[in-house]
Amino acid sequence: MTARLIDRALGRGIRSQPLKPDVSHNIILYLEDITVSFDGFRALNALNLYIEAGELRCIIGPNGAGKTTMMDVITGKTRPDAGSAWFGQTIDLLAMREPAIAEAGIGRKFQKPTVFGSHTVFENLELAMAGDKSPWKILFAKLSGEQLGRIEQVLETIGLTHERDRDAGSLSHGQKQWLEIGMLLMQDPQLLLVDEPVAGMTPQETERTAELLVSLAGQRSVVVVEHDMDFVRSIARKVTVLHEGSVLAEGSIDQVQNDQKVVEVYLGE
């Protein structure tokens, strides 16, 4: 603990960490006994969660269950009072700050889409591209063929190839969400955290978002927080139910929906 504090004070643990997670044990994220209190109230209560490499996991739970707080812990926005959080075998997330965590390969999509409205779709992806982002380099930066290919590939993945030269501000709500996912993909994250992606989407958009998220898993791990049970049913292999800051149930969607405790919590809501 003291060593970690000293490290942090000296700004260590920001770049000295290995950049890519070691997933030799097939687990990309370990959350163990994570507890977060706000003024005595436990938003997370000894939470345990393991995400496999390449997995697509859905986290559901009533409002206030701690879903967003959990993502805050993973991305370094909130420090837990107790517990440990590891990215692969070697990267201690609790010793790192937000930018370093993002750089190590954890991408997070917030609920509200925030794309750069007066830039085109293409430029948004270009801006989000991984690489040296120092002012001098960027002033003289030129897209390499490889980088162009990467952007086109992501455009294809998020289904916005035909919108590439449109201002992002003029996109529909759903398209903005996909663009934002595309911007995360440009940083090539190993773990993608997505908070309520289909809120406010039309049924068609919801369906395409499900396809997109399914297609993203495999090459990387995807953790989706969502309320919409139909949506969860359409994508999830494995579902984790959070309740009052800890895991209430875990399993396939059918197992979870027939779980007595889960039924009680959801009916009691």
Binding site: A102, G117, E123, L127, A141
Partner: protein, 366 residues
């Protein structure tokens, strides 16, 4: 790499093309009509007008510098004339040192105002300012260093929006008060004046003023191209992203503070160059140039022309100053009201300025 650099410079929209064309035309016509056409002719451009145009173009360069930070990065500077004036003072110091024994007191080293104050020695910061290259270095270095220190403090502590605007006003106001003091060593409230020559060329001569006009045109064109290169580069897209969603830009890994800082320093240097070209044409630099109101006027020029286009800022500077020249002569007491009214009108009716209006009209007609 080289061809792409040139491509980028030339890759221009219609407005930029017209702007550069007009500058080229002015560079040819104005000297021709002043030097080659006899004075009696209706086509003759008097030296007075050449100097006036040169002054407008200095303002245009200052306006471009402000547009670069305001229009593209959302930093509303209400203190850019501080950088302009510092550049002007650096040039003024050089010009003072050229006077030599031709001053009223005939002191070969000390400028008149120092002799008048009974100073025995040249202050340290006046040393070497009789050398043109050093003076020109100071023209960009003085505003650049001030902008760096100010920007480093302000951007790092994430001062933004109206708070930043207010402290830029405070900056220029504080400098004005400081430069008013005789002990500062910049001539107090009289400033620096009575210049004789620049690089050996007599400043009383019309041809020197034509040369200064040409130098201003060239500086404006180069400054414009440099700004265009910046805003068309990926750096430009980053600063626009900072303008539109600063925290998001930071989140995807851009060191927002560094971007703002370097843009700010560059802009301040441009303003300094504009000030340095202004002083020999006008013949004086005094602390009044630091007046907070002047900086606000620059913002009005940019708003009137149309922010975020660069050439719009230049257009606004020339038009508003033309109106000012006319109005302050015809109805001096009206000018300030006219300026305020103009700003209100433009803000309410023409949020994109004249350039925005022209674009809209063209879209409607096509």
């Amino acid at each position: 790499m080289k061809t792409s650099f040139i491509n980028r410079l030339l890759q221009s929209d219609r407005g930029s093309g017209i702007f550069l064309g007009v500058l080229l035309l002015a560079a040819i016509l104005v000297p021709l009509l002043n030097l080659a056409v006899p004075e009696g002719s209706a086509l003759h451009v008097p030296t007075y007008t050449v100097t006036l145009l040169g002054k407008y173009l200095c303002y245009a360069l200052l306006a471009i510098a402000v547009d670069l930070v305001w229009g593209y990065c959302g930093i509303l500077s209400l203190g850019h004339t501080a950088f302009f004036a510092l550049g002007g003072y650096a040039m003024g110091m050089y010009l003072m040192r050229q006077i030599g024994t031709r001053g009223v007191y005939g002191n070969p080293i000390l400028p008149d105002f120092m002799v008048f104050l009974n100073w025995k020695e040249l202050p340290w910061f006046w040393h070497g300012m009789n050398h043109f290259p050093l003076a020109m270095l100071m023209v960009v270095l003085a505003p650049g260093v001030l902008a760096f220190v100010f920007g480093w403090l302000a951007f790092r502590s994430r001062v933004t929006g109206v708070y930043l605007s207010i402290i830029t006003q405070a900056l220029t106001y504080a400098l004005m008060l400081a430069f008013f003091r005789n002990e500062m060593g910049f001539g107090g409230n009289n400033g620096l004046t009575d210049f004789k020559d620049l690089l050996g060329f007599d400043l009383q001569k019309g041809s020197t003023h034509v040369a200064l006009f040409l130098a201003t045109v060239i500086a404006l064109a180069l400054g414009f191209l440099a700004c265009r290169y910046i805003v068309n580069s990926r750096f430009g897209r980053v600063i626009e992203a900072v303008r539109d969603a600063e925290s998001r830009a930071r989140f995807i890994g851009y060191k927002v503070e560094s971007y703002k800082l370097w843009l700010w320093v560059f802009s301040a240097m441009l303003a300094g160059i504009a000030g340095a070209l202004y002083v020999p044409q006008i013949g004086i630099i005094n602390p009044g140039e630091f007046a907070p109101l002047n900086s606000i006027e620059v913002v009005v020029w940019v708003a009137v022309g149309g922010r975020g286009t660069l050439y719009g800022a230049a257009l606004g500077a020339v038009l508003v100053n033309y109106a000012k020249t006319y109005l302050t002569a015809a109805l001096p007491e009206v000018w300030l009201y006219a300026l305020g009214g103009l700003f209100v009108l433009v803000t309410l009716l023409l949020p994109q300025g004249i350039v925005g209006l022209l674009r809209k009209l063209r879209k409607q007609s096509s």
